[in-house]
Symmetry: C2
Subunit: 212 residues, 2 copies
DNA sequence: ACAGCCGTCTGACGGCTCGTCAGATACTCT
DNA sequence: AGAGTATCTGACGAGCCGTCAGACGGCTGT
């Protein structure tokens, strides 16, 4: 089942229009990266896409609506990461799988950085649509991580001081924020490799209770 | 030694002007909180402060310059937190001190939330002034945490898999991001108390190698 | 081939914010 | 009171936002 795509006035749009809409989304992403999250202008987007400003508003109520569409698209790239958390880590050798997860998440983050930052800003502000899209993106991972913690607790590996859901959210928070930091960090402190290894170690221990 | 305050044209400003400048900063903070990080307008700030738009530009080259000044001011509230990390945590009973640190950091974050988010955005984008102010705010804490990790490693409590500096940065990242999340999290998963307790446990273990 | 139709796109506009300037206002000192 | 300096402001050009009526162009039926 494939949703019909709609213009802002509600009509179902055809092939040419879908292509235009996509060009606008591509341009939005390009300019988000080039100009930064705070300085994107609709006029620039339409210039980049080779369209008139009015065309943008035919497909998106405002800039946020376009960002929201990009955030929706990003979900597809986050969902597969959950497979790297399956089955649960239960021996020191599984640290390699934790490392693979961190690498995969770093890649995902790198590709969608600008969109995710904006999504988080709007979600933190309380916007319901952005909250919804963030939840749909993260909840799969958070739930799975929480299960891992819970399992570790029943098997006596993980301290029961941890609230499984909160611990999972803390790990997501750490990953997100540290990855945003990493460029500056590598100029001031430790190399990116050391950062990855450290992230892996903390993540692995928190979710499995194990050390390597 | 007390820096003279300057207008954008370089002249040293007097008492009345200092008060106006401060009113503008206060208004900026108010509107950052009310309208959100992405929707603050200079016109609104001057309206709020009861001044003409032109007055704003007499003291700040642009909105960023005002935010930067607010971020500078926030440093004073972050610096004392380093005392809560001294001396290093070395027994399970020190978990109480970790909890105190988390609480204090949460308070600090709550008070400066909007400014810190914007500071991080600009710093992540590569703006040198915002990077500098972020470093000066965080480096005290990060350095101290790194020392704690290093000490724990020499005493055999903490795994040598951790890069001390990276681990410290990871903890800061976790704190910052999870605190931004916490409202939504408490509606979907675990209570704020459980979140605090979980943060404390992870922080305490990562920095000291201990469990409670 | 061509007329008509409908989906798509656009130029042009009012309203707003930005950032600047020259000049008005308020304070200080004699 | 008057001169001089510090501070503030109204008014403006430029640029972006978001909307509208209408232009364009590809398709359909004859």
């Amino acid at each position: 089942m494939h949703e019909e795509m709609l213009a802002t006035d509600g009509r179902i749009i055809g092939e040419r229009a879908i292509a235009t809409r996509q060009r606008l989304l591509d341009a939005t992403l390009t300019l988000l990266r080039r100009d930064g999250v705070l300085d994107v202008k609709v006029v620039d987007i339409t210039r980049e896409a080779g369209a008139a400003p009015a065309t943008f508003y035919q497909y998106f109520a405002d800039l946020d609506a376009a960002i929201l569409a990009l955030a929706e698209a990003a979900i597809d790239d986050e969902a597969p990461l959950v497979d790297l958390l399956q089955p649960a880590w239960s021996t020191p050798a599984d640290a390699a799988r934790a490392r693979a997860f961190v690498d995969a998440y770093a890649t995902y983050w790198g590709e969608h950085y600008a969109v995710l930052v904006l999504r988080n800003l709007r979600a933190d502000e309380g916007d319901v649509d952005f909250r919804s899209v963030r939840s749909r993106a993260n909840l799969l991972l958070v739930r799975r991580m929480a299960e891992m913690v819970k399992l570790g607790q029943t098997e006596g590996r993980v301290t029961t001081m941890l609230d499984p859901f909160a611990a999972a959210a803390a790990m997501m928070a750490m990953l997100e924020r540290l990855l945003a930091y990493q460029n500056e960090l590598s100029r001031r402190g430790s190399s990116k490799a050391a950062q990855r290894e450290t992230l892996t170690t903390i993540l692995f221990h928190t979710l499995s209770g194990l050390t390597t």
